[in-house]
Symmetry: C2
Subunit: 277 residues, 2 copies
């Protein structure tokens, strides 16, 4: 069960509601994929102050499209009108997914050991995290979001609304080779990767092993955000982390566009479970 955070506010500011449902479904699909599960069915909850039919239709269109792409049944949901709780055309959007994996195929991270390879899969942008910080930096006025940035090749708003990438189809054929997986959401690499590590080991990342996409550089510069905070709030270009035996690393980097070896599993030296060098 998850939401899309205040990416909703950017969608609202730009009156573009047909991709936020894609964000939600893909976020949920990636979440359950980390234990090896395939999506079975999905339900949504949309709450707003006053029902705006076109808005709900646009949201549902995105939900349906993303569900279709992973063969997940969109079996229902709830649309709630809650005057006094949501202001203006504000709404909240929540997704619930159930998936299935055979017990013996569960990916739990238990076999991860020192020397294993960490592979990063490219994100498509901020995915669904860090928007409260982004809104502090840029605000949410339409003219600001409509500004074109050459380094982004599009407007700020377009870059911010880029849908959350789904890793299901890329990773499905490779699931048997995966020892552990972390979906890089709120908390970034720092908070999400330790969840999958067994005791006594740490994840060491090489900052220079991948290029941080321009959108993150822009946020950091404009907001004068500390380096550490950036890696703690945003995915910094890595949407999914896969841990596998070094022998199998090639299979990921060859099969998945943009996938790179970005670190390795090391002995835990101190309290830190994640080291970004």
């Amino acid at each position: 069960m998850d939401g899309v955070g205040t990416k909703l506010k950017i969608a609202g500011a730009l009156a573009k509601h047909d991709t936020i449902g894609i964000d939600l479904v893909n976020h949920c699909v990636n979440d359950i994929l980390t234990c090896g599960a395939e999506p079975l069915f999905f339900l949504d909850y949309i709450a707003m102050g006053k029902l705006v039919t076109e808005q709900v239709e646009a949201i549902a269109k995105g939900l349906a499209q993303a569900c279709r792409e992973v063969g997940c049944a969109l079996i229902g949901g709830e649309t709630a009108e809650m005057p006094g709780l949501y202001a203006g055309e504000d709404y909240d959007l929540v997704g619930f997914i159930v998936g299935v994996v055979e017990k013996e195929k569960l990916i739990m991270g238990k076999t991860i050991g020192v020397g294993d390879t960490i592979i990063g899969l490219p994100s498509s942008g901020l995915h669904t995290n860090g928007y409260s910080l982004v809104r502090k930096v840029f605000g949410e006025a339409k003219p600001v979001l409509d500004a074109y940035y050459p380094e982004l090749g599009r407007t700020l708003g377009e870059a911010l609304l880029e849908p959350h990438r789904c890793y299901y189809h890329q990773l499905k054929p490779l699931l048997p080779l995966i020892k552990g997986m972390a979906h890089i959401t709120g908390g970034g690499l720092i908070d999400n990767v330790p969840r999958v590590l067994p005791q006594g080991v740490a994840a060491q990342f090489h900052r220079r092993a991948w290029t941080v996409p321009p959108i993150f550089q822009l946020i950091q510069q404009r907001g004068n955000v500390a380096h550490d905070e950036m890696y703690h709030v945003f995915n910094m270009g890595i949407g999914m982390v896969v841990i596998c035996s070094p022998d199998n690393a090639d299979q990921f980097t060859k099969a998945i566009p943009g996938a790179k070896v970005i670190g390795e599993v090391v002995e835990q030296a101190d309290k830190a479970r994640v080291v970004i060098k």
Copy 2:
């Protein structure tokens, strides 16, 4: 998947958050009970502008208590901080439940026919519907909610916050005798009962077969709400409707305190699927 509507605003006005989770779970349990399903697992989503730990703890306490009472696993959830979307200490609360029923035991209403008996199970109050209308009538100022009403035997706020009743334990042993069931939520008897009726039949209710609880009379008088609207917005004292063969009606009225025969299934005479005489 469902929420508790703007009952949340009443809970907020009275700073009482330990029963709203009970409302949510019981609402969800009743919803899936209508097809004969037993609850398996539940997840919650709590979204607020700024995390108020005591509030989340109180909400979770109610969720846990209600799940425990029906043997449903509370397996997780999401707590989202969304500044700018929720004002002050406002929050939204969403529940998701998965239940299970053997295919041959599914209650679908297909066998309902003319002459079947309609049994009403007493609600404990408004349950989780009609709060936007209530707030129009009374507002949500604490002094108004704290006023004592002799006919309620308690304050207005206490009556309004009375938790949604759960019908699981009362109905579970009688499920094999049930032809159809409707959980009376938003839309009242008028909108919820037709969902379970096969084509060609209608539900005829006898208004005088049950006593509308004082809280509904109070709302109607103070708000000068039309009779029809009352039956279309509120449960009017009937939280669950069960349809069974006349031979079996006794088993419900004897086993369940307050359960009454309140109508019967008739041939559909015109467009109306529900007639309240």
